[in-house]
């Protein structure tokens, strides 16, 4: 059971039927563009701010760099948000919570990995308690590099996401192939979501771990493969 994709090239029931009517598709393309325009200019943000990038996220939301200009407000609950910005280091104890909150967000939803801790775990990635990159357990649409990225980089990331939404809904989005192994970079054995040689059981174990979170907050572990 693959971990679900964010709201990408979905086939819509109403459109499917309407397109069969003669002449309706001309009207529908305009309607779709109108909906895309409305969707991308009101991207409400769910700030998964765990550490330093959270402070830069606050600086981006404030008066000097003002994220409101591109229509995105930070909201407290996942139920009202479209974009989850993962700002900061995700530890092993926090990862099930992030995955659960990602699942609780209504579609269509997108994810921005802000900061090198969220993208690859930065210099913490070799440590026992840090998840090496958020895209090992959830689909990420835009990566904003930096430690921490300047607020204007984050706003550029949001603009990049808006372009991506437009192209995805217009169907002209080309999925970039994953970066090849750069100079023998030692990648942790848990590959990214898109890696073909990723062990499917890992996604299943990650989902089980989210479903039965322990009451005291411990993530109930699936049996260790190498134990």
């Amino acid at each position: 059971m693959a971990v679900d994709e964010s709201g990408r090239n979905y086939t819509h029931p109403v459109y499917g039927y309407a397109e069969s009517l003669p002449g309706a598709d001309l009207f529908l393309t305009k309607a779709d563009e109108f909906l895309t325009w409305g969707l991308k200019n009101a991207l409400w943000v769910f700030p998964m701010a765990t550490s330093c990038c959270g402070i830069e996220f606050m600086a981006a939301a404030c008066s000097r760099f003002d994220m409101d200009r591109i229509g995105s407000i930070a909201r407290g609950t996942p139920r009202q948000c479209d974009v989850m910005i993962i700002a900061g280091t995700i530890t092993v104890k926090m990862a099930p919570r992030v995955k659960k909150l990602w699942d609780q967000m209504p579609e269509p939803k997108w994810a921005i990995a802000m900061g090198s801790c969220a993208i690859s775990g930065d210099f913490y990635r070799d440590i026992y308690s840090v998840v090496p990159g958020v895209d090992t357990f959830m689909p990420v649409d835009v990566y904003v590099p930096g430690c921490p990225p300047n607020p204007d980089d984050l706003l550029m990331g949001m603009r990049r996401l808006q372009e991506k939404i437009t192209q995805v809904r217009a169907g002209t989005w080309v999925e970039p192939e994953l970066a090849p192994d750069t100079a023998g970079f030692k990648r942790p054995e848990i590959g990214r979501l898109g890696d073909p040689d990723r062990d499917p059981r890992t996604s299943q174990d990650q989902l089980d771990s989210v479903l039965n979170l322990g009451i005291h907050g411990e993530a109930t572990r699936a049996p260790q493969a190498d134990e």
């Binding site: 819509h12 109403v14 659960k100 579609e107 039965n212 322990g214 009451i215």
Partner: protein, 126 residues
Amino acid sequence: MPTPPMAPSPWLLILVFLGLSALIAFGTIFAAWALRVRAKVDLPTKGLTYECGEEPDGLAWLRFHPRYYVVALVFVLFDVEAAFLFPWALNLEALGSLALIEMGAFLGILTLGWVYALKKGALKWQ
């Protein structure tokens, strides 16, 4: 004098008003359902109650202290009062000064109830 045939009967106006409001109310709900984006995989965690990422522990169906019920009652008192004030205020000049005295009495009685609630300490929680 029969209403001129041209002017629509008031009942028709009410029907149109109700129809329009129903259209708007249910129309938006239908649009939200029709244009929604379905996830490829609906995970069980989506339906869980949101508790800051944690597993909700214990029940939410609990017995609460009666002081919160009293606060709700005091709110209803003001809500009803406001509900009556609006139509009265709209056509005050048509009703003349008598309505003013009646509304004064109505507000006086309600204020009495409010003072009584305050004296009984309805809003004092500790």
